[in-house]
């Protein structure tokens, strides 16, 4: 019991890092994903093509490679080359990568909305932005909740990849203790923490889904 309390300190610190990376990445990746989706379906085909290329790059290479690239290789890239500390580098990698996945979810959601909704809004005088904000996106939200829930939970677990930048997230903290004390107890605790975090998200998404179930369609 006392051993559990002893290892709880570093594990909670690791959890704090994990949560920070998750929350900041999520909050930034969602709007970026939406913008990418809108750009991809825009009438401007050049922009759409550009976004398509971006999605291919982000979804076609490992997230870990992207993270390593941003941390180690970006400083040597001409013009845009900057040296980022580990935390911002991790955030940039997650945001760029997850925005690509969110973009595809948004795109599918937006394209599933009937054309009649746009026309109904248009003949009432709503602008494109008003139509999106008031009519289309609220309906999209309802339709994309299940895949968004999936992707968000995956993001929580993917944060463990930041160990490659030697950051002390929950998993790396646990592994450190395991290697030091020759016990697997920290792994069990870490698993419980991950499960707790994803449980909170699952319940949150379910609540939202139930709230939006008041209407069909």
């Amino acid at each position: 019991m006392s051993y559990l309390l002893e290892i709880l300190g570093p594990l909670l610190e690791g959890t704090a890092v994990t949560l920070q990376v998750f929350l900041i990445s999520f909050v930034l990746a969602v709007p970026l994903g939406l913008l990418l989706a809108l750009a991809r379906i825009s009438r401007c085909t050049a922009l759409g093509g550009l976004v398509n290329g971006y999605l291919w790059l982000m979804r076609g290479t490992p997230l870990m490679l992207q993270m390593l690239f941003i941390y180690f290789a970006l400083p040597f890239v001409p013009v845009i080359g900057v040296r980022l500390p580990d935390f911002p580098a991790a955030i940039v990698a997650f945001v760029l990568n997850y925005a690509a996945y969110f973009a595809e979810i948004f795109r599918a959601g937006i394209q599933s909305i009937d054309r009649g909704q746009y026309e109904g809004a248009r003949v009432l005088g709503l602008t494109y932005v008003q139509t999106m904000r008031r009519i289309v996106l609220p309906q999209v939200l309802k339709r994309i909740l299940p895949p968004m829930s999936n992707e968000t939970i995956t993001l929580v677990k993917d944060t463990s990849l930041i160990y490659v930048l030697a950051m002390n997230d929950l998993l790396r903290a646990a592994r450190g203790i395991v290697q030091r004390d020759f016990t697997t107890m920290p792994f069990v605790v870490a698993a419980a923490f991950y499960l707790l975090m994803t449980l909170v998200l699952t319940v949150g998404f379910q609540r939202l889904e139930r709230k939006l179930a008041v209407y069909d369609g």
Binding site: G116, G125, Q130, R134, D216
Partner: protein, 254 residues
């Protein structure tokens, strides 16, 4: 003399290889109820949708209450007025669709007040009493908190009419407002449109309901093959169609 509510001149429109409108011209005066009839694919919907810029024309000219929405210059270049102007002009026309196009995530009342609040910038407490009057008028005040999916087709269409009226349009466009309804539900929608006619709302109604056209419309336009074949007072057109194509169509319909 005041300019017509709608003045359409020589409208041309093609979808890829198909010429859907081949020189359609029509004036609609204030308070007129014009029914548009014709076989499927004759361009009725396209004509209506060009009037409020849901489709763009390739050639011709459209003026709404004396303001130019689109005109074609001497070189044959078709020019629309600026986005803001065209939006302002088209706002004077309400439109009711065959498939209602209600917003499913909003209640009946929210459907009606959405545009007045978002587009006109009215406050909720300013528009709600007005919206309730409109819902009472179409007989759906008790459904104000329902979501569209809980309504019958006829009720949906009446909400759609109330929603359009909430923007206080000068002209109402109807594209087959009863075609998606079970026969026993068309009556309630047609009654609502008839009441609007009695209030002298200017209306352009695409319909397959010949009895309704004959009874409510001041004029009936028969379209076929992307052209207006004849446009005459309802009684005349039904009693003595001038054109053989009109006669054939009416024989088929009645």
């Amino acid at each position: 003399m005041a300019s017509p509510m709608i003045e359409a001149r020589d409208l041309h429109k093609r979808f890829a290889a198909v010429e859907v409108l081949r020189g359609v011209s029509l004036d609609v005066e204030r308070g007129e109820v014009v029914a548009v009839i014709g076989p499927s694919g004759s361009g009725k919907s396209t004509f209506l949708r060009c009037l409020n810029h849901l489709e763009t024309i390739d050639r011709g000219r459209i003026d709404i209450e004396g303001e130019t929405l689109v005109a074609t210059d001497a070189d044959g270049v078709c020019r629309y007025s600026s986005d803001a102007t065209s939006r302002r002009i088209c706002r004077r026309m309400g439109m009711v669709f065959q498939h209602f196009n209600l917003f499913p995530h909003l209640t009946v009342l929210q459907n009606v007040i959405e545009a007045p609040i978002t587009v006109k910038g009215l406050r909720r407490d300013e528009i709600v009493p007005q919206a309730e009057d409109l819902l009472r008028k179409v007989g759906l005040l008790d459904k104000r908190e329902s979501y569209p999916s809980r309504l019958s087709g006829g009720q949906k269409q009446r909400v759609a009419i109330a929603r359009a009226l909430a923007m206080e349009p000068d002209i109402m466009l109807f594209d087959e407002p009863t075609s998606a309804l079970d026969p026993e539900l068309t009556g309630e929608v047609l009654r609502t449109i008839r009441e609007l006619a009695e209030e002298h709302m200017t209306m352009l109604v695409v319909t397959h309901e010949m009895a309704f056209a004959r009874e409510v419309a001041s004029r009936v336009v028969f379209m076929d093959g992307g052209e207006i074949v004849e446009a005459r007072p309802a009684r005349d057109l039904f009693a003595s169609p001038a054109h053989p194509r009109t006669r054939a169509f009416l024989d088929h319909m009645l």
